[in-house]
Symmetry: C2
Subunit: 406 residues, 2 copies
């Protein structure tokens, strides 16, 4: 696998664009489009929040179509809690794009991110569509990645290439975070996390969905910024077959190779999201091992990743590891506390449930002064493991999220 410079327009046949429609008060780009020159297979995973934003509902319905060619995205407004008006507005967004690109509206998917409970300025979007479509280009991936941002401080994109038989296939992706980040998405189903993946691989729709589900489980569904699950989380993938590989149909060797590459892309993008979490000054990786089952390992890792107290301690470079212990114990997962080891980087702080006497406090502190903080919890009760990612909790997070919205 090679990592290449690029994003959603790196695979063959994908164009993208991003323009300023005037949805954001800041005047920044807020309307974005991905277009495949040929019909593509599509799959997606959406938030499991009981309140689903209108674009989530519309995209779910449109995914029943066989093929898709475009995804339209706005930032600055989540189009959520807007009832039937919101549903109609999201549908209209797909109609505008369908009309401009000569597609059936059901071949167009849609996503939104921004404030909840404010009606969409649909006229502004309609007005901007000709420019949005006109700007579509093979180098538009970066403009796309920029236009989907909300409180993000950096654009997040990535592309990789793998060989499948004689064909070189490319997977590209772009995503945005970076607040209201605690995704729990599945494929049957603000800031908000949105991820858009493209590939020129030839792959059946069913296999594509399964591959996406696998990739999401260990990546986006393992990150947290603030523990708040969004109403709009969405992760899309389009595969247009232009790489001319032998079509991936079942779960053979090519499926595995493709899925491993996809996992790499979603994993790296997920880490980019955690690293750019609202107000973040540090990146935290939590590795849980020795669990009886995968579900338990994941639940403990995620619980630790949402501990406000731990996140504050990391912000203050304070190796207050007792907060890791308290969080692990409150996950609802059963384990023997008298077996547990906790490591800060390579330094063991807890051994068989007992505080290590003579812990090198200076070394512990130095480990917490780094930009990347690594925590390991070994339950010593089984062979399953999981990794979760988060960022620290700073005064800047509070500042960002206490600003007046209206």
């Amino acid at each position: 696998m090679n990592i290449i410079k690029g994003g959603v327009t790196s695979p063959k046949g994908f164009l993208a664009s991003g323009v300023k429609a005037g949805i954001k008060k800041s005047g920044r780009a807020d309307l974005a489009l991905i277009y495949s020159e040929v019909p593509a297979m599509a799959a997606a995973a959406f938030t499991t929040n009981r309140f689903q934003a209108s674009p989530v509902k519309v995209s779910k319905a449109h995914l029943k179509a066989k093929e898709h060619q475009a995804i339209v995205v706005n930032s600055g407004n989540a189009n959520c809690a807007n009832g039937r008006i919101g549903d109609l507005d999201a549908l209209k967004m797909t109609e505008f794009i369908g009309k401009a690109l000569l597609l059936d509206k059901r071949e167009v998917l849609v996503a939104s991110t921004g404030i909840i409970g404010v009606y969409l300025p649909l006229e502004k979007i309609e007005t901007a569509v000709p420019e949005l479509v006109g700007e579509l280009s093979e180098t538009g991936g970066l403009r796309f990645a920029e236009a989907i941002m909300t409180t993000d401080t950096v654009k997040k994109e990535l592309a990789v290439q793998i060989r499948l038989g004689k064909a070189t296939i490319t997977i590209g992706g772009a995503c945005k975070g970076v607040g209201m980040i605690y995704p729990q998405m599945n494929t049957a189903r603000h800031a908000t996390m949105l991820c858009f993946l493209t590939t020129d691989a030839a792959i059946a729709k069913k296999a594509l969905g399964e591959s996406l589900e696998e990739a999401i489980g260990d990546s986006f569904n393992m990150i947290s910024v603030d523990g708040d699950m969004s109403t709009n989380d969405s992760c899309f993938i389009m595969a247009n077959a232009l790489a001319k590989n032998k079509k991936i149909n079942g779960k053979g060797a090519d499926y595995r190779k493709f899925t491993e590459a996809l996992k790499f892309v979603t994993g790296e993008l997920a880490k980019k999201l955690a690293r750019d979490g609202e107000g973040a000054t540090k990146f935290i990786e939590i590795y849980v091992t020795g669990a009886k089952d995968k579900t338990g390992a994941k639940a403990i890792a995620r619980k630790i990743s949402t501990s406000n107290l731990l996140k504050c301690a990391v912000c203050g470079e304070d190796p207050n590891w007792g907060r890791i212990v308290a969080a692990a114990g409150s996950s609802g997962v059963g384990f023997d506390p008298d077996k547990v080891d906790v490591y800060l980087g390579s330094l063991k702080a807890l051994s068989n449930g007992m505080s290590v006497k003579g812990l090198d406090k200076d070394k512990a502190h130095r480990l917490f002064t780094k930009k990347d903080v690594h925590i390991k919890v070994d339950l010593k009760s089984g062979s399953h493991k999981a990794t979760a990612w988060t960022c620290d909790f700073s005064k800047e997070y509070v500042a960002i999220n206490s600003e007046y919205s209206t």
Copy 2:
């Protein structure tokens, strides 16, 4: 029911004290004691965290004794994650008090709050015990309430009186919070929340335990400061029968009267905790109604109460109610989003799942400028309700919890 000035020493026959043992670096009082002049019935509820602090384990074991006369408490050190050494240290604390007060150690209960993973300075405690016992007095409730504080900014105590037949019975209480606050305690089972209740009522041990469980369910188990569950949460009650009421045995009228009074005391103390949450500038009450069952109502209210985004919005006096909707939807509880109404104070922001057009934004903002913010979610799907309490999330919370601990 009359609210009277007082706390744990208000009921007949209870003495208390608080002294400086030198556990806290600040030099503030950190060792506290409650003593009943006659043997009392005792009940308690403890954290459901998988990691249980040593004093929790020792108190659970000691509660098997028929009667109790004392509770010793230290602040500044949680005595958690210290393994067998910690267990022995907690036991020693009860032995010191037992020896000084001529009690069996099993008649003494113990609680700790403070940093996790640091061994207890047992010599300092042993040295301070004579002064602690010598200072016991009928007016010692306030000294007790002071010595159990950690990051608390105010002492929290309360006392009420009710009539049972011809007897006047008194219930007193003191508690401390105010970080690592997301209790989920039960009776079968840092900062940390600790609550100490005393009463001169005559009540059987079983009835006392049941009454405590009822009282905790709608009070302490419904508050959150940071969503982090402690390893040390404990709520104790001692009943010494000196009020000479007809002994409460089953679940008759006197049991109900007693339990209603106890619920009032725990409810008020719980609200005091939320109001004094670390860094809090505002108090938030979340009322969920129209739920299919009580469990669902509680789960939704609690989920909203732990939304960092909502708590930041309240801090910034920003009526960004979309964050309430997102939190409610992520509770895992099933409901029809198209029926839901959300109110900010008396102002309806969401009606049948739709953003209210022409919402009076100035009024919404004014409601969020108040010291107490009231939020109501009506699911309109049943007759069950629940209330949760929390505080806002301020930069000060981050400051308090990012200070270097070691």
